[in-house]
């Protein structure tokens, strides 16, 4: 079983039951990679395109559908072709980060903290008009749990794997802050923060590690009656998903890209691509803006920043 992180993406689209075919889910990105790999030498030779990577929280087709317009508009305004590259899964995506194959990359906060040596943040997502997001520990109101310490010996269902900033690291950080250690509770992992909340709602766990963005999600409205849930603890507000560029990128180009991205919300064409990407805008961000995230990651994962 593969546990994947699901960071700060409130507009989760749920694939229909017809998309459940896992085989297709595996083959589609592979076909895309093969196609892009075959086309790469031609592009490089002609326009020296910029490679834009997006972490695979969605499948390749959905990722392409959302971000290809953005990459195209970015390339048009930059005067240089921007090629969107998707990954079949997180390991392969992370492998691309390690090898710095992407000039431009969108990933979660933990990914940035861990890759900050090679990549420099230039912006952040604005979702539903907000630039920040907070980690939340949800419990059922009828559970009788009113304090984090009551979770001792209980099951906490985290929304994502250990690299999930909002679904795991932030809630875990709050537990640590409350004096609990990892072995004081049972950790279980849902595929994303939404499912962790549903799991608690369905009494499959005592607490859910999630974010404040789940409330108001259309999918959640059908699956959960939030009147029966309560937020046991809420973390500090953390900046949304980061847009970063390779540190080796020329400063003029880096700033041009930052400028274009942060200017999208000011133009009709920009709004169109933002809408396609289910964003309300892209704000400016610098490395210091992710210090709170870095602090939490170090507290939870240790100085190596790697999952335990």
């Amino acid at each position: 079983m593969i546990h994947v992180a699901f960071e700060g993406e409130p507009q989760m689209e749920i694939q229909s039951i017809r998309d459940w075919n896992r085989k297709w889910r595996r083959i589609a990105p592979l076909l895309w990679l093969i196609a892009t790999a075959a086309a790469a030498p031609v592009i490089q030779a002609a326009e020296d395109p910029l490679i834009m990577g997006v972490f695979p929280r969605l499948n390749a087709s959905e990722t392409t559908k959302r971000y290809a317009p953005l990459a195209k508009l970015l390339g048009e305004r930059l005067g240089r072709k921007v090629t969107l590259v998707t990954s079949k899964d997180f390991p392969s995506f992370w492998n691309g980060i390690d090898e710095q194959r992407y000039e431009i990359v969108l990933y979660n906060q933990y990914h940035y903290i861990r890759s900050a040596k090679n990549y420099q943040v230039i912006g952040h997502n604005k979702e539903f008009g907000k630039s920040t997001i907070a980690g939340v520990l949800y419990v059922r109101k009828d559970s009788g749990i009113t304090d984090l310490t009551q979770l001792r010996g209980r099951t906490v269902l985290f929304g994502g794997g250990e690299d999930a900033m909002i679904g795991y690291i932030a809630p875990f950080y709050m537990l640590l802050q409350a004096g609990l250690k990892k072995e004081d509770f049972i950790s279980q992992f849902a595929v994303n923060p939404l499912n962790s909340v549903i799991g608690v709602y369905r009494r499959q766990a005592d607490a859910a590690g999630s974010g404040d963005m789940v409330v108001g999600q259309p999918a959640m409205a059908k699956a959960v009656n939030f009147d029966e849930l309560t937020a046991l603890a809420v973390s500090e507000q953390l900046l949304h998903l980061p847009w970063a560029v390779r540190r080796t990128m020329p400063a003029q180009l880096r700033e041009s890209i930052r400028s274009i991205l942060t200017d999208f919300e000011n133009s009709a064409a920009g709004k169109e691509v933002l809408k396609a990407a289910v964003l309300t805008g892209i704000g400016r961000a610098d490395d210091k803006d992710y210090e709170p995230h870095r602090r939490m990651v170090r507290a939870v994962l240790g100085p190596t920043l790697a999952p335990r």
Partner: protein, 689 residues
Amino acid sequence: MRLNLGAKFTLTVLIILAGTMAANTLYFLDTSARFHEQQLVERGRALGRLISLVSPDAILGFDFLLLNDYTREVSSQQDVVYGVIVSPQGLPISSYINASDPLIKKRLEAASSTEIPKLLQNLGGHDKLIQMEFPITQNDVLLGRFLVGISRQSLQSEFRRQLIVQILVMVAIVLFLSAAIHAVFRFNVLFPIRKLIAASRDVGRGQYTLVEAKSADEMGLLTRAFNAMTEEVRQEQAKLHRQANFDTLTGLPNRMMALDRINMEISRARRSVQRFAVFFIDLDNFKSVNDSLGHAVGDELLVATGARVQAILRDSDTVARLGGDEFLVLAPDVANEVQVEEIADRLKKAISEPHDLNGRKVVAHCSIGIALYPDNGQSVETLMANADNAMYQAKGTAQGSAIFFTEEMNTRLHERMQMEQDLNLAIEAGQLALHFQPIFDSSGQHHRGAEVLLRWHHPERGAISPAVFIPLAEATGQIVGIGDWVLEQACRSWSAWHKGGISPGFLAINISRIQFRRRFSKRLAELMSIYGIPPGALELEITESVLLDDHHQVAEELSSLRAAGLTLSLDDFGTGYSSLSYLKRFRFDVLKIDRSFVAGLPNNPDDVLLVKAILAMAKGLDLRVVAEGVENHDQLSFLAAQGCDLVQGYLLARPMKEEDYLSRLKNLQAGVEPLRLSASRNQRTNSTS
């Protein structure tokens, strides 16, 4: 309610068809319902297996949204009311309820996610719901269960729809088939049957209509059988008609047809103002032919007579045999009595021609009574009665006479009928009385007995001669009762006299041939026993007419009487047909010489010869002889000289009342009254036999 055959048949067919179709429809619907139910179950199983197959990864990954997608997709299938994935502990982890389904709508309104188990429990066992459960496992570890509920609502709606459609189709088929069968039945069965009914009614009216048989099936066979039956009935009817209207022996019309012909002739004659004659013919002494030559010869004689009569008549005339030896001739359109007489003469002549029957010559004569229309009657009954009456009158005349009816005949007939009625009352009214005429030995000196004589004193007409009322009593059968009364009175008187110490001698009582037919000997023995009459006290006088009847029966009766010791006397000897043969055939004790032979004695040589011969024969046969009608001394002397045993007559004593005879007996017994020969030759009275 009265249903005709077609309606009954059609109704029966309709019921059978409806029943069959209904059963077929129910079977079809039941099968269809089972099939659809099976389909629902199979669909549920398919969904269950699908969910069981795809859910483990989502459950293990706590991917509830994906599970929700699964359950939503599954539950969006037609007829699926709910799809719920529950944990091994029974907690629902993904569910989809079809809120629009009426079955659970109101339940769902009050239900929350936590109440889903209660909702499922509440739905459990509902007859409109198929509920199934499928385990979700991975590596034999139970991860949860998938519960799916499939509604039978649409199935039942479809069942109802199909039921309505099937019923409508069934009704249409049944009505169509019933109408078609009724039409075929009407054409092939009802129409022929109605024709047969009409033909049957025709047969009932005497019209023998045949029905055309068109088909070779059972109806055709029935029609042919009916036609055959009609033909049989027609022939049988003709036969019956012939039997009813024609005489089987002669082939001539019988009495019924004769009456019918006369009736028709009356109508015709009335319209055309014509006369016609009815001849009533009776063969004379036909009984003698039967008795002497046998019935077969008698029948031959009747046939021959009929043929002869028919041969001499016109085609328009009718000859009929009325029965026995009676024939009737209807001669229409006769001008006058002369013509009628000519016809009667031809009839007499034709009938009296000798017949050669069975090798023997037979001559028959007839008596003819004639009645004319409208002179002697204007109805069948009157004409027949008058012709019969005339024939009766003719019988009393010479053989072979023909007499026209006259009103006087009717007068006599009415008188006779009145006398018959009066005679019926005579015994009870005490109008009958016994008289006694003493019988003496031929010397006239010794009383031997008396002949019992019956007298009728009519209150209005005075004394009526036995010669008048005895034949009438015999003709009407009244003689049986009268004769019995005479016997009993005689026995009673003799018994009374005897008990009174008087010796009355014997009493000679006349017995009618009619009495002989009614077990006479038994009745006489009974009376003799009752009154203590010794056998020798009674002498029965029998005329030759008795002997004309059945010889065997007469012989038996006579034997019985003789065995009882009674004396038998042959009365009126010499006036009959074959007295000598009777004497030979039957055993008598006494002969009574008729007064007609005694009257000429001793001067008439023929009477002398006859009386001598009778006396000689009687001696030879050891018979005593009684001579009747002795009225003078010469007769008495002659009879005594010739050896006659007994005599009676006015010379010796007239018939007298019982009290007179008793007084006479007492005097005789006392010897105070000597023989008194008081009668004169001219004093003849009516004595009877």
